[in-house]
């Protein structure tokens, strides 16, 4: 299987997750979006040496993965490109902050190591919470929530269209590379001389397809704004984010004093 096809399948799998009939998927997207943003906000607001309460904050991603029946392994795999960036952001802290602030079994641990770990955890948790959101909420629902939050229509439509055309472009890229490989079986990869033509073809064909999709939208009454399905609000839609929000605040303002 080509890497493009693999990536298309990954995208399909993610859409499968979003379409499940799990109760977490059925929650109102606005609540889930606000909860994710609030979680990230609370997580990054911890002091750089507050490692212990930050570890407790793992409760939300753990809950999301276990109760939401999401595969942790797949989640990590899907976030593999961004995880190294967020995890290694504090890698140089131990060199700058050498003050010993903690002793474990007689071994002194510097402030730099602690702050590096907290930075890593903050990034890691943020990525996981974002993953939980996108694995349980479709892009249409996220955009619906963004529109409720009065995010400008133009921005929301650009997000939706990029998502739509991404699939179109990926499918075209897959067709072109497959056609090339089938006629160049002895060649390892695509010869550099063919790159220009292939990329040109890819863009032209993607534009043609994208134009067809756009025309199909226009012919069905699209006038520049997506009319989305309105979600009815149930008690759980309010309770779920409210309870979690309360838990985050308890960890942030009370547990921090105990730990």
């Amino acid at each position: 299987m080509s890497s493009i096809e693999k990536n298309i399948r990954e995208l399909d799998k993610l859409q499968n997750l979003q379409q499940r009939s799990h109760w977490m998927n059925s929650l109102h997207p606005l609540g889930k979006l606000l909860l994710s943003i609030f979680y990230i906000f609370v997580t990054v607001s911890f002091d750089k040496y507050s490692l212990a309460p930050l570890i407790v904050m793992a409760i939300y991603p753990l809950f999301g993965f276990i109760v939401g029946e999401l595969s942790f392994k797949e989640g990590i795999y899907r976030m593999r490109l961004i995880l190294p960036l967020v995890i290694f952001v504090g890698i140089f802290n131990p060199f700058f902050d050498k003050r010993i602030i903690l002793e474990v079994a007689g071994i002194g641990i510097s402030g730099g190591v602690i702050s590096m770990l907290t930075l890593m955890l903050k990034g890691f948790y943020s990525v996981l919470s974002a993953y939980i959101l996108i694995a349980t909420t479709s892009i249409d629902d996220i955009c619906y929530a963004l529109r409720i939050l009065r995010v400008p229509k133009q921005i929301v439509i650009v997000i939706m269209l990029i998502y739509r055309y991404f699939g179109v472009m990926a499918a075209e890229a897959d067709r072109i590379t497959t056609a090339y490989k089938l006629r160049a079986p002895k060649q390892n990869g695509i010869h550099y001389k063919a790159w220009g033509t292939l990329v040109g073809q890819w863009l032209l064909r993607s534009m043609d397809r994208a134009e067809d999709v756009y025309e199909s939208m226009l012919l069905r009454g699209f006038t520049g704004d997506f009319s989305m399905r309105k979600h009815k609000t149930a008690a759980t839609d309010i309770l779920y984010p409210a309870i979690w929000g309360l838990i985050f605040l308890v960890i942030r303002f009370f547990l921090i004093k105990i730990l």
């Binding site: 859409q15 379409q19 025309e215 012919l219 009454g221 399905r229």
Partner: protein, 249 residues
């Protein structure tokens, strides 16, 4: 949306169109169609069939002549109105289906026209029932087979209850069973249907009227049997007798 117009629903007079000034794609097209008719448009590759279809739905508006859909002139000002009356099923179903599930895609048109959620729900149910794919309602579009995609594409148009349904090569890439199924479903739809196809047997099975296009002009306009059994006429314009012609003669 259906207007309930029972008479002349499509009127084309002296329609000409060119992408570039030097080369006219369509020349002096004249055609009228009434509600409930099914019209097949045939012709060799590149003679302007798809262009004519796109003109009807207002994707090109810089034409010469008269083009009226449900009593409204096709121009930029009337586009929204025109598109409420006319549905276009693309040749490539992947261009037609762009939302995650069949339900969302079929509901896309009615939602854009501001219908209530109850009405949207009703329209989706009816459209899926008409093409016999109610069980696929929550299925993701990328998981459908070619035949299912075609039926889902038609459902996306039926949910808008158009007066006119235009289909570009609907039988392309369908296996015999799906093709037969599609013929049956199209014959059950009572709106005005305009179908372009190279599959002349398909036209014979679905359309009582047929237009033969060549070099941008209507060469023949008459009963499908009459035109599709005329070997000389077809061969003179780059076509051949349909396979079923042998059985019929």
């Amino acid at each position: 949306m259906q207007t309930g117009i029972s008479g002349e629903i499509l009127k084309i007079e002296n329609l000409s169109f060119s992408y570039e000034k030097t080369q006219q794609v369509l020349k002096d097209i004249n055609l009228t169609a009434v509600d409930g008719e099914s019209i097949g448009i045939i012709g060799a590759n590149g003679i302007g069939k798809t262009t004519l279809m796109k003109l009807l739905v207002g994707l090109y508006t810089d034409y010469q002549g008269t083009l009226e859909v449900a009593g409204h002139q096709v121009n930029k000002k009337n586009l929204a109105h025109i598109r409420e009356h006319i549905g276009y099923v693309f040749q490539d179903s992947d261009s037609q289906l762009f939302l995650s599930t069949i339900e969302d895609d079929v509901a896309f048109g009615p939602r854009n026209y501001g219908l209530s959620e109850e009405e949207v729900e009703k329209r989706v149910t009816e459209a899926l029932e008409k093409v016999h794919i109610s069980e696929l309602r929550n299925k993701q579009t990328y998981k459908l087979s070619g035949g299912e995609k075609k039926l889902a594409s038609i459902a996306t148009i039926l949910s808008m209850k158009p007066d006119i349904i235009i289909m570009d090569e609907p039988s392309i890439a369908l296996d015999p069973r799906n093709r037969r199924n599609l013929i049956k479903i199209l014959n059950e739809i009572d709106s005005l249907k305009i179908i372009t196809s190279h599959d002349l047997d398909f036209i014979l099975d679905t359309c009582e009227r047929c237009l033969l296009l060549d070099e941008g002009r209507i060469i023949a306009d008459g009963g499908s049997r009459e035109i599709l059994m005329d070997k000389e006429l077809l061969e003179a314009h780059g076509l051949e007798l349909p396979l079923s012609a042998g059985r019929m003669s």
